[in-house]
């Protein structure tokens, strides 16, 4: 299962990138404020980039969070069901997650292409290409859905955790 191993590593690497981007955002804000208060000109890109980092963290962490069961779910009611029904229902919920997320990924992908065609720009403290947010959502939804599919193939019956901190 070489392919699966590579895939697992890729998911982990994305989550690591999310962590790194949070660390860099922290430093960027510190540098920005320090420059501003010492008579230098702060970088204009900081606030726009940090805002987009929030979206990046959301989508980059999503598949890995799905793997470790850190997307909060309420399992209290399902837990009371008999075992067979519980795993059947669990699988059905995971399938539904895959469908929902892949539908969103498909539409977000279509909109990415559309925005690219419009040449739109998101004007913040600096201008950011308009398709970027859509592309991030497309990738995030798509990979998160894929992770649920992998969960299903691995025989798991639970979509989310009760907190996996």
């Amino acid at each position: 299962m070489k392919a699966l191993q590579i895939y697992d590593r890729f998911t982990l690497a994305l989550a690591a990138a999310a962590g790194l981007s949070l660390a860099l955002s922290t430093l960027a804000i510190v540098v920005d404020v320090t420059l501003r208060n010492t008579g230098f000109r702060p970088f204009q890109f900081t606030s726009a980039v940090v805002e987009y980092v929030m979206l990046f963290v959301t989508v980059a962490a999503a598949p890995w969070l799905a793997r470790i069961g850190a997307h909060v779910a309420i399992n209290a009611l399902v837990d009371r069901l008999p075992g067979g029904l519980q795993s059947l229902l669990g699988r059905a919920v995971i399938v539904l997650c895959v469908v929902v997320l892949e539908v969103l990924a498909w539409r977000a992908g279509a909109l990415t292409i559309q925005e690219w065609g419009f040449g739109s720009v998101d004007i913040r403290s600096i201008a950011i290409p308009g398709w970027l947010a859509y592309a991030l959502l497309c990738a995030g939804f798509g990979l998160m859905g894929l992770e649920f599919l992998v969960k299903l193939l691995r025989g798991e019956t639970r979509a989310g955790g009760d907190g996996a901190h």
């Binding site: 949070l22 963290v57 969070l65 309420i74 539904l96 929902v100 859509y134 639970r158 907190g163 901190h165």
Partner: protein, 438 residues
């Protein structure tokens, strides 16, 4: 479609999805897809949902959340939290449930540093909860105080929500900010009384170990060495705001960095601690942001379908006495607060509420405080209170939402009681701004 059908359909659908064990974020997505298809006219509705979603988390207002979580995680993973707790343990001696009280004290302090309830709760949850669990505190004595004091952040200034409320309600922002101070402190006091009562009713809820007796000199030493340097962190967060060097959001970054500096000073800094802290920040903020992505859009859809305005119109449509009307307004805020984000609630309700408040002769600033309290309450009310999910996300595996909600309940009672007190004694909110503003 009548508003109550739309309301029932959307709320019913999300409840069913969540009860089936679907991750909360995906449950919102599922209902949003169906709702957008139904209310916005098919496929174009789903596309609009995605357009709306691009704006929901690319927001500077969310930045304090990961920054405060990094701060809390660093406290925990560098072992600074343990050292501070041990030191305070020495000084507080055998006070039962001392860490629960400390949560209230620390939480109130951080409420004056942060304008975001979610950030405050996440920070307290990540730094305090693991340590308290280890020391044998029952879950409700950990989660209740954290949830409750986390919410104080938007009552005690600075408060992002109060600023927005002031501008939308067309009342003086400064007066509203100051008006929240006394009620916020009273609320913290009520939490202390509540914890004392909970311990009296169930002494087993908190561990009863008595730390070894220490001399006064040792106490002073512990305070100076372990607790006093915390001042650096507090300075970095609030000092930088007061000195005018950084905005409340920006100062959170300095706060995180100052914990790193402090840990280095104590020789406790390691790559592992930094990596684990970032990991925690990714887990907590990633989980929260995904829910925010879904719930913001859900909230927008609820507004677009006419369900929210239908409820508001219905509840305020009766001719009743001012106090019954006030009760109706608070109930609307709490009900909407269960399902919607707070800014949207303000945009929907204020145009209707403020004229009513005017004709009924209530003070607008006083009502602003009541509204903030009701909105704060809604963050912790099941089933959709965002703070409940935050708490669940930072709690040990196996914690259930029922446990979290039950822990929050008595503290919700305190807020309700405070609203009643404010109605009887409006001066609790209005005295301080009156003094300062002349």
């Amino acid at each position: 479609m009548e508003w109550y059908y739309a309301f029932g359909l959307m709320i019913g659908a999300i409840l069913v999805m969540m009860a089936l064990g679907m991750p909360v974020a995906v449950a919102f997505f599922a209902v949003n897809i169906a709702g957008c298809y139904l209310f916005m006219g098919g496929m174009i509705g789903i596309d609009q949902f995605i357009s709306n979603a691009t704006a929901s988390v690319t927001s500077f207002a969310l930045v304090p959340i990961p920054l405060f979580v990094i701060m809390g995680e660093l406290f925990f993973h560098t072992g600074l939290a343990i050292r501070i707790f041990d030191a305070l343990d020495k000084c507080l001696g055998s006070v039962r449930g001392r860490l629960s009280y400390l949560t209230v004290a620390g939480g109130t302090l951080f409420a004056t540093l942060s304008g975001s309830s979610m950030a405050n709760t996440a920070m307290l949850g990540t730094s305090l909860a693991p340590e308290m669990t280890q020391r044998g505190y029952k879950p409700h004595m950990i989660m209740g105080p954290i949830l409750a004091t986390g919410g104080l952040a938007m009552i005690i200034p600075p408060s992002t929500l109060a600023v927005l409320l002031g501008s939308l309600a067309r009342i003086d922002v400064g007066a509203l900010l100051i008006a929240g101070l006394v009620p916020g402190v009273i609320l913290a006091g009520m939490y202390v009384v509540l914890i004392r009562t909970q311990i009296a009713l169930d002494p087993e809820a908190t561990p009863s170990y008595v730390p070894e007796k220490v001399s006064r000199g040792e106490m002073v030493r512990a305070l100076l060495v372990e607790v006093a340097p915390m001042g650096l962190v507090i300075f970095c967060v609030i000092g930088l705001i007061l000195l005018g060097w950084a905005t409340p959001t920006e100062s959170a970054a300095f706060g995180a960095l100052s914990v790193v500096a402090l840990a280095a000073l104590y020789g406790r800094l390691s790559w592992r601690a930094i990596v684990m802290s970032l990991r925690g920040a990714v887990v907590v903020s990633g989980m929260m942001f995904m829910i925010i992505l879904g719930s913001t859009t859900f909230s927008q859809l609820l507004a677009f379908s006419g369900a929210s305005s239908g409820l508001i119109g219905w509840a305020t449509g009766f001719t009743v006495s001012p106090y019954v009307m006030l009760l109706a307004m608070v109930l609307v805020l709490i009900v909407l607060g269960m399902f919607m984000d707070q800014l949207s609630i303000m945009m929907l309700t204020l145009p209707i509420f403020m004229p009513l408040i005017g004709t009924m002769g209530f003070d607008p600033i006083w009502f602003g405080v009541v509204m903030l309290l009701a909105l704060e309450l809604s963050l912790a009310t099941p089933p959709f209170g965002m703070l409940l999910f935050v708490m669940l996300g930072v709690s040990p595996p196996g914690t259930t939402i029922t446990q979290v909600a039950r822990a929050a309940l008595p503290f919700i009672g305190c807020t309700l009681l405070l609203i009643v007190l404010l109605t009887i004694f409006p001066g609790l909110a209005l005295w301080l701004p009156g003094m300062i503003e002349g």
